[in-house]
Symmetry: C2
Subunit: 221 residues, 2 copies
């Protein structure tokens, strides 16, 4: 029985990857750049996203897909609140988004009117790592109070990312966090990752991170 | 195919629950109390656990099972470092412990020499909620910088717990956290939960939480 289960899971992952590729081709045909943002619950994904979107708009036409394990609209409402289209995706208890859910979510967006789609994955440092969504890049948002040992304890999520955004740097004075140890853990897994230090609370570092993202967006236009 | 997958998953959960019941019976026959501690990555599980064990020992004979998704021994070494038996359980990438892994881990412990077994689950606010381990109680450790909206976004994990330990209260002055909103979210899901505010950093609140735990341990002796 374990073998059968593994076969079925592999089947599902194969189908998922095919859908992800189709999504990526569709988005490129529309000159849309896309990013999958992953993080632990409470790293400040939505706060960083709101600050980032404020830097990108109105020049870049943005939309957000909000993944949640429960039928809540807290994050989608925050994004809508700053005038950006937001689609809520409820995974129905599942611990990650998948390519099919993302494709369905995108059907509610006018792709001809967009330059950039940001997908906020479910808060989880383990499960989202295995599931391609069809986005161009993957980003992890980490945060100072989570601790500096996370790359050592949850390595898979850091392997397939292009950028790491370290949030809540305003809390550095109050938390024991060894930045060199944290960075060394990530660079050992992923030597090419772009590294940004930000605070969604104070705005520190957001401009640099948003400028890098904007450069990626401009390249597919 | 989706139906087949669901059947198999249900089968696995049924077997899991049977093993969990056997484990619980075995532990009770040895007068051992046990707890399953769950949290988001970086909530400070291990730091709270270390402080708690220092309050309980030497009166209570403790052991710890450390669940991790990767083959790291960071947490087990910290527990061993204060002289308490610690068994590392590597889930092999899985996002939660299960009853079989916990049973295997316990085989390395001398159950006749113990009063209390503490299981530290994998850092994850979603997946561990569905998997009984055979422990007497479930506890979630939350933390101030995670934000006050977690009970609304990850409701399942708060439903089956007996105690909620809110860690990092030393960061209250530096973080926007609405305690009433957080508590209301948890109490709506679980009106009978015991609520403790602690700081593993300063030690605040640890004595109250440890005293409550000690009372539960004493009741099964």
């Amino acid at each position: 029985m374990p073998t059968k289960r593994i076969e079925i899971v592999q089947d599902i992952l194969t189908v998922n990857d095919q859908i992800a590729e189709e999504t990526n081709r569709l988005l490129h045909s529309k000159h849309i750049f896309s990013v999958n943002i992953m993080a632990s619950p409470g790293a400040g994904k939505t706060s960083v996203i709101l600050r980032t979107l404020q830097e990108l708009t109105p020049e870049i036409k943005c939309a957000v897909l909000e993944g949640d394990t429960a039928p809540v609209t807290i994050d989608a409402e925050k994004v809508s609140g700053i005038g950006i289209p937001a689609i809520q995706i409820n995974t129905g208890g599942d611990c990650h988004l998948n390519a099919n859910l993302v494709r369905k979510g995108m059907q509610s967006l006018d792709l001809n009117a967009l330059d950039f789609i940001l997908v906020e994955n479910v808060g989880n440092l383990i499960c989202p790592a295995s599931w391609k969504l069809g986005t161009d890049i993957n980003v992890v948002i980490a945060s100072i109070p989570e601790g500096d040992d996370k790359p050592y304890k949850y390595p898979n999520i850091y392997r397939g990312i292009q950028a790491l955004v370290l949030n809540k740097v305003d809390l550095k004075p109050y938390v024991d966090f060894n930045l060199s140890y944290f960075k060394a853990g990530i660079l050992a897994l992923n030597p090419d990752v772009q590294f940004f230090e930000v605070s969604a609370k104070t705005g520190e570092g957001i401009t640099d991170w948003a400028a890098w993202l904007k450069k990626q967006i401009k390249e597919v236009e």
